[in-house]
């Protein structure tokens, strides 16, 4: 009985991003920064030390005109579960338990007041989804009045990253509780980037819930680490065993191939690799 209850209440929030719809407009990045009080510098030209929880990469197929193709790939934190639930690359290495994996939601959190800035998690993350606060956050005068009251700003010397807008989940849970309901509807908890995307390329929801769009698109095989069963869906660096919760979709083979590393001939021979395509 307890097991059944646990299964009923446990979520695996995740995302599916349709790369064929993404135009690279950057709305998701802007919405994310605004929603989460992400600090910025006066000069943002050095991208190696600027904070972008949501980062849009530009991919090309490497061919010359007129066969050139472009793909924009938004990359939030992938919220890895690892080979066994909770063994994310970053969570397993943090010496001070300052980043944690929620078995209730599948979300990897960052505890800002506990992080002491060793940056081991950054080194362990292959997606570069973690950012260090090299400076104290400073907003232009007056702008601090427009900061979100639901998200604490971070101080210098600690690591931060995408939280799947966890504060929205908390607010939604509060609402549901006050209304005497037990469960969230799909649209009651959505991330800022999902709502900001003008092309509707980003879908967000519970991967466990067959009624949610992310489940219907990705068709995750939960018996095998959530591996997508939709042949057009893949996850970044699937072969590392990071077991991410951000799925990407594309009709284009070269885009799907760009999602992981393959030795010559491996991608063309799907049977040889327990991979993503």
């Amino acid at each position: 009985m307890k097991q059944a209850q646990k299964e009923h209440t446990t979520k695996r929030y995740g995302m599916v991003i349709d790369l064929d719809k993404c135009t690279g407009c950057g709305s998701c990045m802007v919405a994310c920064m605004s929603e989460n009080n992400v600090p910025f510098k006066t000069d943002e030209s050095n991208k190696l030390d600027s904070i972008t929880w949501m980062q849009v990469y530009k991919l090309t197929n490497g061919k010359s005109y007129p066969n050139t193709e472009i793909c924009y790939l938004p990359r939030p934190c992938q919220h890895c579960a690892g080979k066994h639930e909770g063994h994310s690359p970053c969570v397993s290495v943090c010496p001070a338990t300052a980043t944690d994996y929620s078995k209730e939601t599948g979300i990897v959190s960052q505890i800002y007041t506990r992080c002491f800035g060793c940056r081991y998690c950054m080194g362990a993350c292959p997606y570069h989804a973690r950012y260090f606060n090299w400076w104290d956050p400073v907003w232009p005068e007056g702008m601090e009045k427009y900061l979100s009251p639901d998200v604490s700003p971070r101080m210098r010397g600690i690591v931060e990253k995408c939280s799947f807008c966890f504060h929205r989940y908390q607010l939604a849970r509060n609402k549901v509780y006050l209304e005497g309901r037990k469960d969230l509807d799909e649209d009651e908890y959505q991330t800022a980037c999902t709502q900001a995307c003008p092309a509707g390329a980003i879908k967000f929801g519970d991967l466990y819930n067959p009624e949610h769009e992310v489940h219907r698109i990705a068709q995750p095989d939960m018996q095998h680490g959530g591996r997508p069963q939709n042949p057009h869906v893949f996850r970044l660096l699937e072969r590392l065993g990071t077991n991410t919760k951000v799925y990407y979709m594309s009709e284009r083979r070269w885009v799907r191939k760009a999602g992981d590393n393959y030795l010559p001939g491996e991608f063309e021979n799907p049977g040889a690799v327990a991979g993503s395509h």
Partner: protein, 441 residues
Amino acid sequence: MDAALIPKGVKRCPMWQFLLALGVVGAVLAWGVYAMLLCWIKGLNQTNMNDYYGFALWIWADLAVIAVGGGAFFTGFLRYVIGKNELKNIINYAVLIGFICYSSALLILAIDVGQPLRNWFIFWHANIHSMLTEVAFCLSCYFGVLCIEYIPLILENRQIDKVPFFHNLSHNLHETMALFAATGAFLSFFHQGSLGGVAGVMFGRPFAFREHILVWPYTFFLFTWSAAAYGPCFTLLVTWITEKITRKKLVKDNVIELLAKISGWMILSYIIVKGIDTSYWANITAKSMGLSLHDFYGRNWFYGYWMLFTELVICGVVPAVILITSHGRKTAWLRVTAITLGVVGVCLNRWVMVLQIMATPVMTFDKFVLYYPSWQEVATTILPVAYGIILILISYRYLPIFPQEAELNPIDTNEPVSRETAIDADAGTDSTDTAADMAPA
């Protein structure tokens, strides 16, 4: 001026020379302290680290000093646990060098974290699954052991030793030193190993990731092995440099050659195992992730194959072959070349296991990023070197670091006794009454 503090039966340079040396190195130290304060006050934006290089020069320096400081635990292990009695004549210096290396590592770590005032969180909120937690605990404990090993040496200063309490304390500490040496070896095994594990458990970084034995990746064992192999090289190198600067023979050749020989065999065995590990990693582990050796070494000139060759062959096979042959280790220039290559080799290994991991892209559309340190990083990395030199200067002048020094450098009693020379007539220049001799055989 300070003749009363100088060990019996040995000669030291005039005070003005000593102070001049202290002043020069002290200026470098002050430069490092200034940079350190900048980092603490203004933050890590003073460095050239970035979100691709969360680990950089400092972590390399940390790993490198701990590796070369491994001479302390391994020499202690050989002396007290295995019973290589000859090594009593170099163990004091090995302990001093180890003490400097480990205190330097702790200092660098204190600068390296973004919130230094929260350093204690690593103990308070410890994640027992993290290799870094294991590092923190073992490193702190072993530094405590090194303090206990270094304290008796301080207590042997002529003036301190006159106080009966300190004399007896020192004697009793020596009596139990085998226990501390064994404890140190045990702790060192784990923290050297867990430093290797820091890289080896990163399964999101194929360049670093290694398969496991129980919970420990292969790098765990390789780091311990390499520290035991190359650490004595550093002890020998610093001893050689000290001899050149003081223009004295401080340790007899049989002691040097014994340690060099052991180091040589350790390096040889390490290189064989390291070669097997590299081969397995390149052909099995990396390929299972869709990557080949060329993806790691063939895409960037700086992190090219030359680095792998230098680490394994020039700084591995070559010093091993020199040191295991009698002719090699008895020929001074060959021996010094070998131990220098050994020190470079282990430092290069630590560089690769920190910096190249950060440099190598994992996502197919990511880029190879290079990094160069800021002057603040360089200054704070030189800071511990200056601190180490100062500690050696003071320790050498006032403490009986080298038990064989008086015997190897007899003072001509016909010469007028200078103020910096201390000859204890009634003790019969009994300069060998040192830590090493008082310790159990």
